[in-house]
């Protein structure tokens, strides 16, 4: 049995090995500069060294803190706003245009303004992450609550449920999958924005670490930094799916990017 699952895992993950081998071959072929495309062993070595020295954990911690603060604030504000938009007429008429027109506008363009308002430190980055994440979360919550089956609402009310009970037992659970879909869109955005803003004006964080390493031709360090941000992105996404499946246990998702 164990052998079979092991064979299955190899069968499933062989493409990763193919890509890594291709990289190693390219590195050794002499066609490209070894400095620009270092061998896998070199990257692993630099990664391990920078992990041990505390460099990568330090910068990764700062990036992670910023991304999660902005993301967390956007969840709190976005879910509340989305619910209000779906349930209260005047909130909807005031905010719906702001969200439908603002949705396709790249909010990242406001970063220079944010620097002036909130300074160069973490605050301007967290604020921009908050703003970028707010849109998908609010819009998905809004649509989720809107599409709750009316019959469920009527039945709940008919059976004497209080407004609070209707909210917690009917509205929120029905909108749950949609809300989590919004979170899943927003999470990678928070990482994108934190990396960009750190590349532009910062002396801490993984975005800075990567751009600094590249600028000083330490490409192996740059790859190590990318490895770190890749790992963070991957783990956070898996974590979000894990939490989602615990909360919305009646409609689990599984598989690669489900």
């Amino acid at each position: 049995m164990a052998v079979r699952t092991a064979a299955g895992a190899i069968g499933r993950w062989y493409p990763v090995a193919v890509v890594l081998l291709a990289w190693e071959a390219l590195s050794r072929s002499g066609l490209v500069s070894h400095r620009l495309v270092p061998g896998l062993a070199d990257i692993a070595q630099v990664f391990a060294a920078n992990m041990a020295s505390g460099d990568i954990p330090f910068h990764a911690g700062i990036s992670l803190g910023r991304a999660l603060s902005g993301f967390g604030l956007a969840i709190a504000a976005g879910v509340v706003l989305g619910v209000l938009m779906a349930r209260v007429r005047w909130v909807e008429s005031v905010f719906e245009p702001v969200f439908s027109f603002g949705y396709p506008v790249p909010k990242i363009a406001l970063y220079p303004v944010f620097i002036f308002v909130f300074g160069l430190g973490s605050l301007s980055k967290v604020a921009l992450i908050f703003l970028e994440c707010l849109y998908p979360i609010t819009v998905n919550t809004y649509y989720g609550i809107q599409s709750v089956d009316r019959k469920h609402l009527w039945s709940a009310r008919n059976m004497g449920a209080s407004p609070a009970q209707v909210f917690w037992r009917v509205l929120l659970p029905s909108a749950g999958p949609s809300i989590f879909a919004g979170l899943r869109v927003a999470l990678p955005i928070s990482l994108i924005v934190v990396i960009i803003t750190e590349m532009i004006g910062e002396s801490r964080g993984l975005g800075y670490y990567i751009s600094y390493a590249t600028a000083s031709f330490e490409y192996a360090s740059a790859y190590a930094g990318m490895l770190a941000i890749a790992a963070i992105g991957f783990v956070l996404d898996r974590l979000l799916i894990f939490i989602r499946n615990r909360i919305i246990f009646w409609e689990r998702i599984s598989g690669a990017y489900a």
């Binding site: 499933r12 363009a109 990396i195 975005g207 990017y257």
Partner: protein, 257 residues
């Protein structure tokens, strides 16, 4: 009609009130320097648009965003549809995509600039990479979700594999493919702007940074507005395209925006 107008009025209430407040504060001089009054911004934007100053940067940005979008979208859709119909292709791409999907692709920008140079190629490459993922994933799901019965019926009636692909799988996957394109388009503009802010000599992102550095705040807002308009107009263009492509099949479908 009247109800619609009333709705529109309410919707405009918040933005209009904010802008009016901003304008008044600008004239009484109680704003910090970086918040230029809206009328000044409008003036600069208009005069720069008319004189053509804004045009060359806008065209540069647009070219990068669209080139990256087209490359990423074509590759993503083609491979995604293939993965949806072929076990072998699916087996190869599935683990790679699922591993790299949550990784912020913009982190590759510095290294892409070392590989491809500081010119347009590196920016277009990172935009294409960002667009590829949503295009691939949605095309893949669209092709996978095809009703098996339709495929079997087509095969049973003697359709070739190519015909099945063109007449059954492609049309049925189209809505999902377009959803992926819409996500990709929004990403293309974010990545374009970010790439231009980090390392470009032209383009709107670079204009914003330059204007900010030389404290020309009116210019900065003009560039920001131009980016907003481009992003918004491109999205509307894609929606119009979707309506044409899916004409008659989207009855009762509420648009996302």
């Amino acid at each position: 009609m009247q109800a619609r107008l009333a709705r529109l009025g309410k919707g405009l209430a918040l933005p209009v009130a904010l802008i009016a407040l901003w304008e008044v504060a600008g004239h009484t001089g109680s704003l910090p320097r970086y918040l230029v009054a809206p009328s000044v911004i409008a003036n600069t934007t208009l005069s720069m648009a008319l004189s053509g100053e804004l045009l060359s940067d806008t065209l540069d940005s647009l070219l990068r965003a669209y080139a990256g979008f087209l490359i990423g979208a074509c590759l993503g859709i083609a491979l995604g549809l293939l993965a949806g119909v072929s076990r072998a292709v699916e087996g190869f791409f599935d683990p790679l995509i699922s591993l790299t999907y949550p990784v912020p692709k913009i982190a590759l920008l510095p290294i892409l600039m070392s590989w491809l140079g500081l010119g347009d190629a590196s920016k277009i490459a990172v935009i294409a990479l960002g667009v590829f993922y949503p295009a691939f994933i949605n095309a893949y799901y669209g092709a996978k979700a095809v009703n098996r019965l339709h495929v079997w019926s087509a095969l049973n009636m003697g359709a070739t594999r190519v015909q099945v692909f063109a007449k059954v799988i492609l049309p049925s996957a189209a809505p999902q493919v377009l959803t992926g394109l819409r996500i990709g388009l929004a990403l293309a503009f974010i990545v374009m702007f970010a790439a231009e802010m980090v390392g470009a000599k032209t383009g709107l992102g670079n204009l914003v940074m330059e204007a900010e550095a030389s404290l020309r705040f009116d210019l900065m807002y003009a560039a920001i507005i131009a980016i907003g308009v481009l992003g918004f107009a491109s999205d509307r263009l894609l929606l119009a395209l979707r309506r044409r492509l899916l004409a008659g099949r989207m009855a009762g479908h509420a648009d996302h925006a």
